[in-house]
Assembly symmetry: C2
């Protein structure tokens, strides 16, 4: 069957029946889903266990079960590997992983897949695990990729059932209260898995800093936690920011950031109480910097900025250019420090941020957002999951959630990466549909989605370099050799869920190249 944007979707993927994407807000609904998993406990129970192995025994973790993790340490995480190694040692087989995201640090998962310890993964697989899985035939069921808000929704809706949640916690007390902003190796909020802790049958907090009761703030609450395990190391905070958090020096990227900022300034949204989200990419960081300078110049005070929390965003708060930061995950240690010290730097969980099945998301209050892409196409569809070679290398993150929410969604991209064009006729994989994308900003000019004639008029009046997307594409295509396209097999490697649980696209096995 074809979904609403014309992508071919099977009726079933593995054991799951599929509903195709119908539109960004086409499936609004109300009612009751799945109850939280609750357990009564006697007075002042001792929850501390001596090791991850002991926690595996105590939770009754066994073959075929689902275990979950958060990614707040990003490429610095040391817990997923420790847990999987312990599972392997115990002889466990056929586990399903439900991480919020895997990173290159988790390349060891590949060996556990080969050994049959892990047979399914639902969650983002950034880097080597994604590349490995893209070869096909590695997992017993296709991966399901979900946005931050989509994963929260799926757990609440019973679409992603968890047997045991393993939660790495920079600081925890013996009763299970845990935070990510204190301890020996703070990483920022760990509330990504607050939903896991509430819906999983068993919850294990893994910490390197067991502190006196009561640890606070309590992203993870004692009432949700069965066991607490103390280990030597849970993560390396120096690698939280791996690879993303550099201010770009590329003239092309700085030009894109400049054009992005100019567009915001002339968008009509640039007034007091203005709000925006920038990510941790080089263009985004530069645009955030430029935007702060423009706000200062214009005397505008924004209501809130969202992130990933970054030093750049913290700077705007400290300069009084925004009143609030809403922070779902920290991208650097400046953000972690600010979370501890500044009450206007507010931790939020992905439910508040972006849960489709809620009466309103923080992303819905965004005036504008700068987001990246691996590809965009002439329908303004955006791909962030695969590259043009078809290999699944990235997760969705908050891309869908922010694009659907922001009044003006801007995709900031260079037209070429190496010799590979970024604007294509049809993206290899649709992550985010064109209906929620308003402006594409390149170093060769800005393209405005035809449904936003209002924006185009404003931009033209301001003298911004507005062009047709097809023209930019043609100009680029003339400069380069045609790219060899991947040849896909039948096997579906991954389903890309829209944030409401419908399937917007699938990723197939790469069999070779044209």
């Amino acid at each position: 069957m074809k979904n609403a944007i014309g992508r071919e979707i099977p009726e079933r993927i593995g054991s799951r029946e599929i509903v195709g994407f119908q539109g960004a807000f086409a499936t609004l609904r109300e009612g009751r889903k799945v109850p939280r998993y609750q357990k009564g406990a006697p007075q002042n129970e001792d929850k501390v266990l001596p090791s991850i192995e002991a926690a595996i025994d105590a939770t009754g973790l066994s073959d075929g079960m689902t275990i979950s993790f958060h990614h707040s340490f990003r490429d610095g995480d040391l817990v997923i590997n420790q847990v999987l190694d312990a599972c392997a040692k115990k002889g466990l087989k056929d586990l399903r992983l439900l991480p919020t995201a895997l990173f290159p640090a988790h390349a060891g998962v590949i060996d556990h897949i080969k050994a049959g310890v892990v047979s399914r993964i639902d969650g983002s697989m950034n880097g080597p695990v994604g590349a490995f899985v893209s070869q096909g035939g590695k997992l017993s069921e296709p991966t399901v990729l979900r946005s931050h808000g989509g994963r929260w929704r799926a757990v609440e809706a019973g679409d992603a059932e968890i047997d045991v949640a393993f939660i790495s916690a920079p600081q925890a007390d013996a009763y299970g209260n845990a935070t990510g902003i204190k301890g020996k190796t703070p990483c920022g909020s760990i509330s990504f898995v607050a939903v896991d802790a509430q819906y999983a049958k068993k919850t294990v907090v893994v910490t390197s800093d067991l502190a006196p009761y009561p640890v606070h703030p309590m992203e993870i609450q004692q009432g949700w936690v069965d066991y607490v395990v103390v280990v030597d190391e849970i993560g390396d905070p120096e690698n939280i920011a791996s690879g993303t958090l550099r201010l770009t020096k590329s003239p092309t990227r700085l030009l894109i950031a400049r054009l992005t900022t100019d567009a915001v300034v002339h968008s009509g949204y640039f007034v007091d109480e203005f709000s925006f989200q920038g990510g941790a990419g080089g263009i985004s960081l530069a645009a955030t910097k430029y935007l702060g300078d423009e706000m200062e110049k214009a005397g505008i005070v924004g209501s809130f900025g969202m992130g990933g929390g970054t030093k750049m965003l913290v700077g705007l708060l400290q300069r009084g250019l925004i009143r609030t930061i809403l922070d779902g995950q920290a991208f650097d240690l400046d953000a972690v420090r600010s979370l501890r010290e500044n009450p206007a730097h507010v931790m939020i969980d992905p439910g508040l941020y972006a849960n489709y099945d809620s009466r309103g998301c923080a992303t819905y209050k965004l005036d504008t957002a700068f987001l990246g892409a691996t590809e965009v196409d002439l329908d303004f569809n955006v791909n962030v999951n695969t590259h043009s070679d078809g290999v699944l290398l990235h997760g969705i993150g908050g891309h869908q959630d922010v694009a659907a929410g922001a009044s003006m969604t801007m995709i900031t991209i260079p037209t070429l990466r190496g010799r590979i064009p970024v604007i294509v006729n049809s993206v290899t994989t649709v992550t985010t549909p064109g209906e929620v994308v308003d402006v594409i900003v390149t170093e060769r000019g800005l393209a405005v989605n035809p449904k936003r004639g209002d924006l185009k008029e404003r931009f033209l009046a301001a003298g911004l370099p507005i062009r047709e997307l097809a023209d930019i594409k043609a100009e680029v295509d003339e400069m380069i050799q045609p790219v060899r396209k991947p040849v896909f097999g039948d096997e579906i490697i991954a389903a890309i869920e829209w944030r409401d649980g419908t399937v917007i696209d699938v990723v197939r096995k790469v069999e070779g190249f044209e």
Copy 2:
């Protein structure tokens, strides 16, 4: 049938089947209960309505439905009356109220009962409404009284279904984020009804201070809120502390506070990381003061104090005598200010505080607590709901939750109130069973529950005036005329639930006196 402490309980009360009390921790269970009520929403929906009447229309509130409220303004609340007056004006009938508590300020509810607007009340009825209901024949079903933790549990378990939650919020934004610690008339945390907002079919925030997005902290989150109504006044914070928050000058009560403190000091619990809960009564406040002085003298730093937050507790935090305050409700404006300014003054909701169906409550971490009583009996059972005249005048509050949780639960009482003895053969109503009561402190000496021989030994070694409860009772009874006892009719006015949902006692209509 008789329950585990020998109280006669019917098998049904009104439309409810009853399970009798089986023991303080006899019904621990695990599993899934009732799902939260969720609703999807389009991007940046407008939630502001012009009036409470408009909210009644928008929510579809109709005859026979259940509406809920919090009591964080205590006797200063102005919202319940406004909502009920609007319901009456709309001609609504047969509503069930599910307040966390009613106070004398809500005497107007009596007229709404007489007019048929309100036909059921599940929740504490402090003062005139309780006295009115005690006359019998006023409500279509008996009231159910629950502890703070018990009410939270009941909503999550589906034992108390809510159609519309009306949440008074000292500050809210137009998207529904709301807090009780800011705004024109702050009252302290409003998280008592965070569970209502998540489980009710519709949620309405009623605020007198509509502030720019995003209002934080977010005791109530945008994702749970359907509508926001702005009214002139929601409460008078000067009446939050009504009647409770005075340091006693009574020599008898000061003596009890002194003995309580001496008992704590010699209990074995008085070491570093010590924790305690004191309430807002005169004895409790004095004991908190004395205890602080003892901690300072001994060089002991406590892990946490719980309250109601009071100036007295805030003082201990400021003096460095406790590391943390866990605060479920503020009893004065000093506590509200501290909540805003001191990150070690931590807001908690009743779920974290005391939910029986959770993997651990904050009350379970208490070393000791000082609690009050209207009566105690020779089995150490405690009554806080009725007086010896049988009239239902008080709610349970956190009494059961704290008594069940604390390692040493102390009931601090004068032996006489006016000419009425407080120690009786059998309490008129059992709120809290003797099995979770350790020490009764009176001005005539301390009585230790026989199961706590360890405490008795320590107290005797310290030279504290330890006596048998029966001896104290006999001494008092000799001094006074026998009290005329109430004669009860058959009609059940109220069921007293233990915190697990079982029924520990019932309150019957008072027909006259012996």
